[in-house]
């Protein structure tokens, strides 16, 4: 069974249609990258998967169950699908450890000491142990984004959604964040990644979907899509990306 099944997903912002009957299935442990120009609907699609953005038509299912099904309760879905944002969105008035343990303690009712021990262990696993008591503004952008990823992992989700997580980072800090994502792939995490890092998408994705005008215009394994795109719109997009020097042309 597919982990995530999206059927006929349609979404309007006022008059403007941002998603046009999108179908997408994601298998367990699969890493899917969504690429496309700004405004193509990729971030909206991502946020519909965990119900953060409400959609107008269609269904999203997690392990065969509609995400609006009552069996998830109010918090069940958020526990099983984590999301990381472009701007990290860490809580600036809380220490790193408080950021990470907030949801386990307040939402999932875990014992504070137990949650803190688990949080520390998770931080150490990702090389952030020494920052547990630090506040977000004391960390670099790359460190903050790594903390944000750890925060979304603290509830042990089955699926991780990553929304342009490197777009706000200085180029020299992108690597450390991408490394974590590669490690997560190795550990078998199912991920949906919206990214502008084409080289990274080519390396890490099992499948790349190119979105344009609220539709998935073309999808396939990264080597096929990046080197022999079939759809003229994909070809044009990739030509622009290559011309901008953000992806080496593959012959």
């Amino acid at each position: 069974m597919n982990r995530i099944e999206i059927e006929q997903l349609t979404k309007f912002y006022g008059e403007r249609q941002v998603l046009d009957a999108v179908d997408l299935s994601i298998a367990p442990h699969e890493v899917v990258c969504l690429i496309g120009a700004s405004g193509s609907g990729k971030s909206t699609l991502l946020r519909c998967i965990n119900g953060l953005t409400e959609f107008d038509e269609g269904t999203v299912r997690l392990d065969g169950v509609d995400i609006y099904d009552e069996s998830f309760g109010r918090t069940g879905l958020y526990k099983r699908i984590g999301i990381v944002f472009q701007a990290y969105n860490l809580f600036p008035h809380m220490s790193v450890l408080e950021n990470i343990t907030l949801a386990p303690i307040r939402v999932h009712g875990r014992d504070r000491r137990e949650a803190e021990a688990a949080g520390l262990k998770l931080l150490e696993l990702f090389g952030l142990g020494q920052y547990a008591r630090a506040y977000p503004e004391q960390l670099s952008g790359g460190q903050q984004q790594r903390v944000a990823i750890v925060r979304s992992l603290a509830t042990e989700p089955d699926v991780l959604l990553l929304d342009e997580v490197t777009a706000a980072l200085d180029p020299e800090l992108i690597g450390e964040v991408l490394k974590i994502i590669r490690d997560l792939k190795t550990s078998g995490m199912t991920m949906v990644i919206v990214t502008h890092e084409m080289g990274f998408a080519r390396d890490v994705a099992d499948r790349v979907c190119f979105l344009d005008g609220g539709r998935i215009v073309e999808q396939g394994n990264p080597h096929q899509l990046f080197s022999k795109p079939e759809n003229p719109r994909t070809q044009k997009f990739l030509e622009r990306i290559i011309a901008a020097g953000r992806l080496e042309a593959t012959v």
Binding site: Y78, F85, N89, L90, P92, H93, L102, A103, R106, V107
Partner: protein, 278 residues
């Protein structure tokens, strides 16, 4: 992190810094000295001094006015606590989204429109004279109590708006992150938004604190024996206005440090933001 200037730099800077300070001092002394001289040598000055600045009258009136001022301070402090809490409740009503909270939202909006649109003096008169006149069983009958209630109701409307601006200034990504972690609307406010919002509003709130300290004097129309009322009583007896000047001095002694504190906090806050944006 502050970078300390080196020794050589400091020596040059000292001379450069001293000149503007001296010029400022000299011009201040010159201007205010001239004003004092003109006023002091004016033909009518002794009369003015007797009427407003008579030392004897001031000393005579001081104990009564000071006692009244303590009453003013008490009303001020109690009102502050009530306003801080009530306005926060209203701001939370206002911030709750979703159809179930519509009545609370509407209540908060109507409340703010109503009490911000009415003069505080009108409310003080309405509550302070009107409600005790009803003679309702089980409710306090002192004008002081109801006048205080009127001030609290009025100022809470402004304070609600200050809280609201603080809540809205918190980046929307914070609410989204909290929601994505599964926090309820209330938990999002309580743990993610309000701690940041409250820090945002401190300078603006202190402005209200200063304004309220002065508006406590409105209760004197109800016969509450605050500083202004006590000063008036002295004036009515002696036809000398120095007692009001005593009250004025007491108010300034309380408000000016508060205003300085407000400026200081606002400046520090701005610096913190600039550093944060770096």
């Amino acid at each position: 992190m502050t970078r300390r200037p080196g020794k050589g730099r400091r020596q040059i800077a000292l001379k450069d810094r001293l000149a503007p300070v001296l010029i400022s001092l000299a011009s201040v002394v010159l201007v205010f000295g001239a004003v004092a001289w003109f006023v002091g040598t004016a033909e009518q000055w002794p009369r003015i001094q007797r009427q407003f600045f008579s030392i004897d009258a001031m000393i005579e009136a001081a104990p009564g006015v000071a006692r009244g001022f303590l009453v003013s301070l008490q009303i001020w402090l109690i009102s502050l606590v009530c306003i801080g809490i009530w306005a926060l409740v209203l701001a939370i009503f206002r911030a709750m989204s979703g159809p179930w909270f519509a009545p609370l939202r509407v209540f908060a909006i109507v409340y703010v429109d109503l009490f911000r649109g009415l003069p505080a003096l009108l409310l003080v008169l309405l509550f302070g004279f009107g409600i005790p006149a009803l003679n309702l069983p089980g409710l306090p009958k002192e004008g002081l109590f109801w006048g205080g209630v009127a001030l609290i109701l009025s100022y809470s409307a402004y304070a609600t708006e200050v809280y609201r601006s603080g809540i809205e200034a918190v980046h929307e990504g914070q609410g989204m992150a909290a929601k994505a972690l599964g926090l309820t609307q209330w938990q999002t406010l309580r743990y993610a938004i309000l701690p940041q919002a409250l820090r945002n509003v401190v300078p603006a709130m202190l402005n209200l604190v200063v304004a309220l300290q002065k508006d406590v004097a409105l209760l004197s129309v109800l016969g509450v024996r605050d500083a202004v009322r006590e000063a008036q009583i002295y004036t009515a007896r002696t036809f000398n206005y120095s007692s009001l000047v005593v009250a004025a001095i007491l108010f300034l002694l309380a408000t000016i440090p508060l205003a300085r504190l407000t400026d200081h906090l606002a400046r520090r806050d701005r610096q913190r933001r600039l550093q944060g944006a770096k």
